[in-house]
Amino acid sequence: MAIGRNRWLPHVVLLIGVAIFAFPIYLAFVGSSHDASTIARGDMPLTIGPHLIENYQQALVSPVGMRVRATPALTMMRNSLYMALAIVVGKIAISLLSAFAVVFFEFPGRMFFFWMIFITLMLPVEVRMIPTYAVVSNLGMVDTFAGLTIPLIASATATLLFRQHFLTIPDELVDASQIDGAGAMRFFWSVLLPLSRNNVAALFVIMFIYGWNQYLWPLIVTTGRGRETIVIGIVRMIGTGEAQTDWQLIMAVAMLALVPPVAIIILMQRWFVKGLVDAEK
């Protein structure tokens, strides 16, 4: 067999690939374990330095260095977490409801509404940033949690995924619950929702990462001190990217910014892969 001949080739290629992914993260981790002057002199070795714990303590509680004055990473992580959770819960909730309406009811305008939702796939927040900001500003929601999250909640992807899933639910189940005399909402809660657990888990992973990693929208909507998310906070910390800044703190905050979403992907890999591949189908 051909495969037998090249038994080691795939492993070698894959390991090189893994190394290319892991190496930058390793260097960042090393960077978060030295002091500012070692890094600024360009003398950083490839091994972990002696300031690991103190750097992370400082980053979490009070990331104030010689040239950096940032919001504590704990606060920023909490902001990111709340934002991500609000987006996830909001997206899943409204998409479940609208997919339920579109699949299990017959009513005038059904397809029209479905298309209205579908078409939002074509309007990423980036291209409608300025008018959306104007709307949020008119509603007095600039620099508020609602202004940060609500415009990101509508999701065609989640609605489409739930719709696909609902279409596979056997008619017998619906009949059965109608015979039981259960109303529509009862059916939704006690039959549909439990059957959608896997899809909810899959979407949770994808949407959590989407939410945690949001950039442009929080950048323009949050201005208050202490309200920025960690992704925004870290970019504000580097400023103009000079050599003489507190890189050890920046790298510690960067590690803190990437740990939660990476952990979720690794721990919930099964749902993540399923969700990703299903959602894009």
Partner: protein
């Protein structure tokens, strides 16, 4: 597609749709309509004086050499990011598909960069590629490369492409791997019995079978390169040096947000929307086709 069994209720479905429709209308359709309207206005930042100018803003934007330059940068950037993110992903997926044991382990080791925000990846890479303190930056200089992305436009463009592609490989890898694993083994074995070499087998048999996945990823990666990479450029180069990394998206942000040119930036928004709609229509037509075969 339609279900046989349907709940009968006049009001309830509308109530169920209300939250999503409300958000969609307030934060999608109304702003999009506003952008369309604004793109035909000539206005001061405060909105005190407004003239309706029809398509003049589009004319100005499209005839501006700077906009065309940004379009060219976007083209180079998107093609490079797409290729740079897809080719290694395909290679890794083919290799992972051949590994009989440990494929899941490798998958775990390769998927996680998907979770890193583009802006955070940009900050990490800035640290590594920094000309005076970064490990790779120093290494390049030691080799005699005059590495300083803050001065050399080509290097800056390379850096933002590299970071954007680096982060996207894992996403493509997952889809390629799923695609490869869905190809029936019998087809591959039949080709092997015919005596075709592994390389030939791949290009003649496997790659064509992967084409739906490849095509889908092509569209997704182009959209990624258009929009999601804004964080990388904003954090690393701010569109410079010169205009070397000013893409259409970055130009839109700058004109609208920093230069407060509302009419011109709205016209740019509308043009970008048209581009996304075009891409999505292509993608949707393809989905339709795939549903049928």
């Amino acid at each position: 597609m339609r279900r046989r069994t349907i709940f009968r209720n006049k009001l309830l479905p509308y109530l169920l749709l209300t939250p999503q429709l409300a958000i969609t209308i307030i934060f999608f359709f109304y702003p999009a309509a506003q952008a369309l309207y604004q793109s035909m206005l000539f206005e001061d930042p405060f909105g005190l004086r407004t003239q309706f100018v029809w398509f003049e803003n589009f004319q100005t934007v499209l005839s501006s050499p700077l906009y065309l330059e940004a379009a060219r940068v976007t083209l180079v950037f998107s093609v490079a990011v797409t290729l740079g993110a897809m080719a290694p992903a395909l290679l890794l997926a083919v290799m992972a598909d051949q590994v009989l044991r440990g494929a899941t382990g490798y998958r775990t080791l390769i998927v996680w960069p998907y979770a890193i925000a583009p802006a955070v990846a940009a900050v990490l890479m800035l640290f590594i590629f920094h000309p005076t303190i970064g490990q790779i930056g120093q290494g390049l200089r030691a080799l005699g490369v005059p590495w300083d992305y803050r001065i050399h436009g080509g290097q800056a463009l390379f850096l933002v492409i590299f970071v954007s592609a680096w982060k996207q490989v894992s996403y493509n890898f997952l889809f390629f791997l799923a695609g490869l694993q869905s190809i029936p083994k019998t087809i591959v074995e039949a080709a092997a019995i015919d005596g075709a070499s592994p390389t030939r087998r791949f290009w003649r048999v496997i790659f064509p079978l992967l084409s739906p996945t490849t095509f889908f990823l092509l569209v997704v990666n182009i959209i990624y390169a258009f929009f999601d990479t804004f964080g990388v450029i904003h954090a690393q180069t701010q569109g410079g040096p010169g205009r070397a990394t000013t893409t259409l998206m970055y130009r839109l942000y700058r004109d609208g947000w920093v230069n407060l040119d509302l009419g011109g930036s709205s016209a740019q928004s509308v043009l970008l929307m048209a581009a996304v709609i075009g891409l999505t229509v292509i993608q949707f037509r393809y989905i339709e086709r795939r549903v049928h075969y």
